[in-house]
Symmetry: C2
Subunit: 225 residues, 2 copies
Amino acid sequence: MTVEPGAAPRRTPLTKESVLRAAVAMADEPGAGLPSMRNLADRLGVKAMALYHHFKNKDALIDGMVDLVFSEVELPRDDDADWRPAMRRRAVSMRDALTRHPWAIGLMDSRTNPGLATLHHHNAVIGCLRAGGFTIAGAAHSFSLLDGYIYGFTLQELSLPFENQADIEGLADTMFTQYPFGDLPHLTEMMLNQALQPGYDYAEEFAIGLDLILDGLSRKREAWT
Amino acid sequence: MTVEPGAAPRRTPLTKESVLRAAVAMADEPGAGLPSMRNLADRLGVKAMALYHHFKNKDALIDGMVDLVFSEVELPRDDDADWRPAMRRRAVSMRDALTRHPWAIGLMDSRTNPGLATLHHHNAVIGCLRAGGFTIAGAAHSFSLLDGYIYGFTLQELSLPFENQADIEGLADTMFTQYPFGDLPHLTEMMLNQALQPGYDYAEEFAIGLDLILDGLSRKREAWT
DNA sequence: CTGCGTACCTTTACACTGTACGGTCGATCT
DNA sequence: AGATCGACCGTACAGTGTAAAGGTACGCAG
């Protein structure tokens, strides 16, 4: 009376990997945020408690999701001829990954258990900088500065209350009526002359700041002991 | 049969301000995170639903909390003689505020309704940069870069899985036993030669990156149209 | 003084969350 | 054949945000 193998009451036994991929996919859906255990289980054709066979608790699952995001970032290689374009590529790739998975960035804090992909990522970055002639301390400075900027810029970008020109104009409207904008002359000026100009794209700021930082790093590279 | 005024069945009618201060105080308690509506109400000697008389919903309350954090940041003034030390002070003050209220930084994304203190802050920063000789575009670049770095650095700092030397050593121990550290030579080297050195303090990295950025800004100040 | 609106707070209820505890079923090993 | 084990399910519980409706006291119009 056993079920025929072809009937497949459960297609495949569920793995850490498949659960994580589903969780990331659900979190990526616009406006979704982290899925609940029950919703995630439903999506996988399973009941909630089944997930606890693969993850100690939800926190462990989230750690896995964050590590999966890190694994999408393009790594530099030790033998990259030139550290600067390598670091630039990595920064852009990292920002891309964080924008693809906007739920990830707010989770960085409070997540104190880095996964393997995360550690490999850090290792590769440091290796590239060392090969490029940075001292250990210099590589630490550079790493801290670059990653800080990447996270912070992306965090800011994601928290902008608009995504396109129409949103900006709507926002400006409601703000002008809601707040005493006479008190905020500089902010007003900047909105009128920058954000509200046709074709303005905040994303371009990323490269401007990044290049300024890279300039600074190459200037300090030999000074940093 | 009315209650004597001295009996005070309710000391004081609860204001947006008092609720926000209590909420921030609770969130600041180590390891607490955002309080639930019920816990916050208890602390105020009130039932949970009373809070909804002062805030539309929990999100609005959180917006207020974030704005309160911003109000603690030392503002530059238009007439600050020199933009550079003013920006430096502001950056340090901002990092301090975010470290005093570590729950705030993860909330920056998804919080798309800036409060008055936030807007005044932005206005003052832009004003200081403009007075320092930056063009509108230049001020926008500088603002984006500086704030990105401040947020990002602090986010990284708060997510470090240790707070003192003992924690670092404990962490290194468990990591070395848990992961194939032969695969991570550069990371290992950096931990051994930096993080594990006596007296190492990650907080010092903040000033190093900040000064590099300020150098870059003053170099670009006149070039940026 | 009466009566009514309005500000503030409470009660109750509902849908939803993470997860502890125990059970069930089939495959594999001895 | 029986034991063991991995994968999944059912049930239950404490805690969450908040909608709906009710109460109670004060300030002001008549």
